[in-house]
């Protein structure tokens, strides 16, 4: 059969046809469009609706955006300019308002000739964060510190910084940059100094008060170090804490006064009610974030603890804080704290707000971290026990690194929530960028009736910061991923 077949074949193709390109509908843009936009009737309808939505949005917003006015002194002038250039009835954004008010949006009522201080503090914030965010990665550290240097050079120059602080600030950051090349591990020391430095930069006053206050930690460490061989670790730690508290309560202020008498160095003191805008939001946000994480971890561990009293107290604290709105806590800070503290005490409103915001975020973080702790397989705890690690070593070396890694996305979204919630301080009379400053702008006779522009401006800045945080958390998740999926 095969023979006859072979003989009947009259033509055998000896060269292959060149492969034909896929049909038009199955390649390139058309295929992509068909698969992604027009695959089913429902999809077609959705696409049409989507395009319609975009079109309507653009039709409303684009002319407004294109007609933007950047130079004007009042809203009326802005509108006149828009109508003159784009015709009767045209609308246009009036970004001139931002030009006039950006100082208030960023710094509040902080005196303009002192703006270099928050600028330095902001630049150094990233220098202090660098070793935490990118531990041991020399390249990232260099990039970040270089960016900080460039930022400081440009913005300090723009802010008319006096010569001495300008040079000192730049020299310090260049020193850090050099340190990142030689001994990147030591950069953490700057992170430890940073809170005191920033406090002094922002609020001003004598240079000695932050130094002497930091010395309290030195006292703590010294007592602990020299006491521990004689009385044991735990009692030495206790004694150290007592010594530090005594230092802060009784020795701090006289020593500062003496030192200030000998060598009066200091910056112009700035009152808390002069803080405002994003300066305030960032001060509250960053302090809250950095203090709420350790407190949150302790609370989570307390809640998981076997000790009944510790557990009950942690649960009570967490559930109470999570059950009430942040606003009520802020009002507690502004109205009730005066009842709970000894008569006559009156401490700074920003500090009070920071404390309450920190507690608030800590309670939420505790729940998030508890989720991470619960998600760890039981075997990890047992392995730590089998290795003979004590509780704190087990937590520090085995449990927490894994639990925190699992909960990174939720931790960062709590941080984002905290940063967004800093706008609520407007309700206790502080000048946050959103309500406080915008209200002042909108109450100004020249800018009465403006609403899109200030909200868009503030919203975009918030968006950039929060979006940046969430992207960083995704980077961190990828970096710390150890499974082989």
């Amino acid at each position: 059969m095969s023979e006859t077949h072979a003989q009947t074949v009259t033509f055998v193709r000896d060269s292959m046809l060149p492969p034909a390109p896929p049909p038009v509908g199955e390649r390139g843009a058309v295929k992509w469009l068909r698969e992604n936009l027009f695959s089913t009737p429902l999809n077609i309808a959705l696409t049409v609706l989507g395009i319609l939505a975009i079109y309507l949005l653009l039709r409303a917003a684009l002319p407004w955006w294109l007609n933007s006015v950047w130079n004007a002194n009042s809203l009326a002038e802005c509108r006149a300019i828009v109508e003159a250039s784009a015709g009767e009835g045209a609308t246009g954004a009036c970004w001139a308002m931002i030009r006039q008010w950006w100082g208030a949006f960023i710094f509040g009522f902080y005196p303009p000739d002192q703006w270099w201080r928050p600028i330095i503090a902001f630049g150094y914030l990233f220098a202090a964060l660098a070793p935490v965010l990118f531990a041991g990665q020399k390249r990232m550290l260099t990039i970040l510190l270089g960016a900080v240097t460039a930022f400081l050079l440009v913005s300090l120059w723009l802010a008319d910084t006096p010569g001495v602080p300008f040079v000192l600030a730049v020299v310090l950051v260049l020193g850090l940059l050099a340190m990142a090349q030689v001994m990147p591990g030591k950069l953490l020391w700057f992170t430890l100094i940073y809170p005191a430095l920033t406090f002094w930069l922002l609020w001003g006053g004598s240079v000695w008060s932050p130094i002497v206050a930091m010395a309290g930690f030195g006292v703590l460490y010294a007592v602990f170090r020299f006491g521990s061989p004689f009385i044991g670790l735990a009692p030495a730690a206790g004694a150290g804490v007592v010594a530090a508290v005594l230092w802060w309560l009784y020795i701090d202020i006289p020593v500062v006064n003496v030192l200030q008498g000998i060598l009066p160095l200091g910056l112009q003191a700035i009152n808390s009610d002069q803080f405002g805008g994003f300066l305030l939001a960032i001060v509250i946000g960053v302090t809250g974030i950095s203090f709420s994480l350790p407190i949150g971890i302790l609370l989570a561990l307390g809640r998981q603890s076997d000790m009944l009293i510790v557990k009950t107290l942690s649960v009570g604290f967490i559930e109470f804080i999570r059950g009430v709105p942040l606003i009520t806590l802020l009002f507690t800070a502004s109205l009730l704290l005066q009842y709970f503290l000894p008569p006559g005490t009156n401490f700074d409103i920003i500090l009070r707000v920071i404390i309450l915001v920190t507690f608030f975020a800590a309670a939420y973080l505790a729940e998030v971290i508890r989720g991470g702790l619960a998600a760890l397989p039981r075997g990890q705890y047992e392995a730590a026990d089998a290795l003979g690690l004590d509780y704190w070593r087990a937590q520090r070396l085995i449990i927490l690194p894994q639990a925190l890694k699992i909960s990174i996305p939720a931790i960062v979204s709590t941080f984002i929530g905290l940063f967004k919630d800093t706008t609520l301080v407007a309700f206790v009379g502080l000048m946050d960028p959103l309500k406080g400053v915008t209200q002042i702008v909108r109450a100004d006779i020249d800018w009465k009736g403006i609403y899109w522009e200030p909200y868009i401006f503030v919203g975009v800045i918030f968006f950039l910061i929060c979006f940046g945080m969430s992207r960083y958390s995704m980077y961190l998740e990828r970096k710390l991923k150890t499974d082989h999926r």
Partner: protein, 425 residues
């Protein structure tokens, strides 16, 4: 093997309180308890001293004094002659109303957006991503303020709705017109919506401390009864189906049971709708919904919807592909796969975080103060507090109420959660 039987039975030494793990936890707990008790005592002592120094005393008697202020939105009767307690109740109801509508709108919107974000349609999923990121990364306060400002500054004045004789003669349309078949008017003073009226309402029942609107509760009771009867009907239909294999036709019975009694009741009570109309300088008739309420509800719904969308998306993505493939292998159509296989499983993942979103929304209603919405925070923690000067009592009471609301919501939702969780048998 040598067994160490001769473990020294050391007598109790004081240092064992710190170094022996058997006793250390007691030491720690006692220390913590003492510190806590000291802190509480210190705070209480300070509070007592401070109260004395200010000549105030701690009691809630002020709640029965005359309030003397007006509340714009009152869903239970209230005049400024009523006492502070009544004002607090009005505020509480206002809080709950915003939370209720906010939760409903946010859920609907959030589910739609979450599902669309998973859609294969590139454009739509991108748009939804933009929506989610935009609303999640910007403070809620901004959305509240912006919606309020837009509502109150871009909407027309009531007089723009007027049709004067000259305009009628010239055939001109007024500057603004009502929406939805001339039933809803959005002005810069608020939104006028039609109000339900009853010719033969059942009146109110006065219980002394509160009065019940009988008409309202009669309708609620009838609806609840209808739903209950309908469920019984469906249950019996299911029983028949399982016994015989044939499912009796129930849809028209369901419709009848669900709607006929309510309609009958409404007709019996002489139900009609009063449509707002422009009279003089303002709209008369209907209900005036303040912009503060509308703005707060809109902003809360849009903001929370972004979070709910992410929860829904994560929940659906958590169901492994094998589940839908198995359903297709069984011959189920896509929408039945969704409703019978995917959703019931996804719900288990979705509900716990959804509960906390509802809680957040409820707590966030307190931001209504930004647009002067008189909710619990605005009445008890705002005007009442300022008028009576009783910060301590007002704040404690307010926190207690919020705490109670939170606990109730989370208990209810946890009960529901339990009912849909996987039943391990």
């Amino acid at each position: 093997m040598a067994i160490a039987t001769d473990v020294p039975k050391d007598s109790f030494r004081l240092s064992m309180l710190v170094y022996d793990t058997r006793y250390r936890s007691y030491t720690i707990q006692i220390v913590v308890l003492v510190l806590f008790a000291m802190a509480v005592a210190w705070l209480l002592n300070n509070t007592v001293q401070n109260l004395e120094a200010r000549g105030k005393e701690f009691n809630f008697g002020f709640l029965w004094q005359r309030a003397g202020y007006d509340i714009g939105q009152q869903l239970i009767p209230y005049t400024n002659d009523d006492n502070h307690f009544r004002a607090v109740l009005v505020g509480l109801v206002n809080t709950l109303v915003v939370a209720f509508w906010g939760c409903i709108f946010a859920t609907v919107l959030g589910v739609v957006i979450g599902v669309l974000r998973l859609s294969k349609n590139w454009l739509v999923s991108r748009l939804m991503t933009v929506y989610v990121e935009m609303f999640r990364n910007v403070p809620l306060l901004l959305w509240i303020l912006l919606s309020y400002v837009i509502l109150s500054e871009t909407t027309p004045q009531p007089r723009d709705f007027r049709v004067t004789d000259e305009m009628a003669a010239a055939g001109e349309a007024p500057a603004a017109s009502m929406m939805l078949f001339d039933t809803v008017a959005v002005t810069n003073r608020g939104t006028n919506i039609p109000s339900p009226l009853f010719d033969r309402g059942l009146g109110t029942l006065d219980l002394g401390f509160m009065s019940l609107n009988l008409t309202f509760w009669a309708i609620v009771a009838v609806i609840a009864a209808s739903v209950f009867v309908n469920r019984r009907l469906l249950a019996s239909a299911r029983a028949t189906q399982e016994a015989t294999g044939d499912r009796p036709v129930t849809w028209w019975k369901s419709l009848l049971i669900l709607f006929a009694p309510v309609i009958l009741l409404l007709v019996a009570m002489g139900f009609h709708v009063e449509i707002p109309a422009l009279q003089g300088f303002n709209f008369q008739g209907g209900i005036l919904v303040a912009h503060s309420f509308t703005a707060l509800t809109i902003a809360l719904s849009l903001y929370t919807a972004a979070f709910i969308a992410e929860i829904v998306r994560a929940g659906i993505m958590a169901i492994s592909r094998g589940q839908s493939e198995a359903a297709f292998a069984l011959g189920l159509r896509p929408n039945r796969t969704m409703s019978l296989i995917i959703l019931p499983q996804a719900l288990r993942v979705i509900i716990p975080p959804l509960i906390s979103q509802y809680l957040n929304l409820t707590k966030n209603t307190s931001l209504g103060i930004a647009v002067s919405y008189l909710d619990l925070r605005g009445t008890l923690g705002g005007i009442t507090l300022n008028q009576t000067g009783r910060e301590l009592e007002c704040m404690l009471l307010m926190m207690l109420i919020y705490l109670t609301i939170s606990l109730i919501i989370s208990t209810l939702m946890n009960l529901y959660n339990k009912s849909v969780q996987l039943k391990a048998r």
